[in-house]
Symmetry: C2
């Protein structure tokens, strides 16, 4: 189970979750994508938003079972939509320390049916992100090639350390460079810094900036359906291979 996480906004969490999920599914892996962001952009990107549909809030609050919220998204790939009540959960205060485990508990029965579960997280470090961190075995951190991205990454690491030391967790962290503009000096400097902080934990494939990746969600399509010949499709296909083989950048 992989939590796609970064409290920094707009770094490509959703774009990565939707296209990486589809890329893995296309290699024959059984994939479940989870939209844990009240913005519901993952659900919209797949073209699966309905005016009223049960989703993550109903599941995590125990009002619906996994079978009642899972929808078939593509071949080999299912989705649990955000649903329209997920915003309420973000501000949930009762339940005390148990409320960090709602996601993990609600997925226990279905987890083994899938080879990969990818969780799209919101840009904040609240209770939803906490649930993803406590449920997942790995965290995939999309990082864009700019200064605020480095700042955000340092802060994220602090947040992880704080949560994990108090709960005695040990989640694997991986970084993927996103929105990568190969010709920019800044992007290369940032990549160098990140590789020094995360030796052997930066995936070899960087996702390059490619307008088709920004266009495809508007058609409710993944990059493979929208423009399979684009750099965006190539990069996510390669990233899926890196993940299957654990291929980091050296």
């Amino acid at each position: 189970m992989i939590a796609v996480m970064n409290q920094k906004g707009g770094v490509g969490k959703t774009t990565t979750t939707m296209n990486l999920s589809h890329a893995l599914a296309q290699t024959g892996q059984r994939v479940l994508a989870i939209d844990l962001d009240p913005q519901a952009h993952l659900t919209a990107g797949f073209g699966l938003v309905r005016r009223s549909q049960p989703g993550m809030a109903e599941l995590m609050l125990g009002e619906k079972s996994a079978d009642e919220v899972i929808v078939l998204a593509r071949d080999n790939m299912d989705l649990i939509p955000a649903g329209d009540r997920l915003g309420e959960l973000e501000h949930l205060t009762d339940g005390g320390s148990k409320r960090g485990w709602l996601l993990r508990d609600s997925l226990q029965d279905v987890a083994e049916e899938y080879d990969y579960i990818l969780i799209d997280c919101p840009p904040s470090s609240g209770i939803l992100g906490m649930n993803a961190l406590l449920a997942a075995k790995e965290v995939l951190i999309p990082v864009s090639g700019d200064f605020f991205a480095l700042q955000g990454l340092a802060r994220l690491m602090g947040i992880f350390q704080h949560i994990e030391s108090s709960l005695n967790l040990n989640t694997e962290k991986w970084v993927v460079l996103t929105r990568f503009q190969e010709r920019r000096r800044l992007a290369k400097d940032v990549r160098e810094k990140i590789m020094s902080y995360f030796p052997k934990r930066v995936y070899r494939t960087a996702i390059r900036e490619a307008v088709a990746l920004a266009e495809s969600p508007g058609f409710g399509q993944t990059i493979f359906e929208y423009q399979a010949s684009s750099n965006g499709a190539k990069d996510y296909k390669e990233l899926a291979k890196d993940i299957l083989k654990g291929k980091a950048m050296h």
Copy 2:
């Protein structure tokens, strides 16, 4: 008082707050910039982060006065840093319905000393954004030229309507197109859609994508200090003029 707001991440709220504040200050306006994001990127962008400094949390909780947290940032421009405890406020639950007014109350004494107060908001629709909305006379919504930006804007409007109707508020909304890539079909389509939803409320100047805008915060500099000849500097200078004259796009 202008709340720079959009729950969508990475659309240029911080980049806009820092450079627009400086542009206004350079025309002689007295400006106060407020970092309301626990990420503290605005503070970092100005090069003003200290290891321990009182900031917005201490001010809003009444532990420090405005005089004790305001720092001189540039000529004609002051800043209230985020401070290291702002994250606690994001998850504040006691205080009931009064906690939406903490920001407005805490700024009452200093508000008249400034011609413009710009508030950089976090990418979420929690209590901090609520405080900014209730304190500000206007909201400036940076929007990037892509599909998820439209989705985010629609959702933001729903959130505003919900809050404003229940509190009988009537805040002016303005949109500024950011990270604008002039050659992209997608960006132009998005601009067209937004102008149809917000007639006369889209500022005439769009902020173009310019790598210098991403580089300057890494040096603790605004675009005017870093590269005054860049498109980024030109665009924010023009946007400041638009704001002073209320110049919308037609």
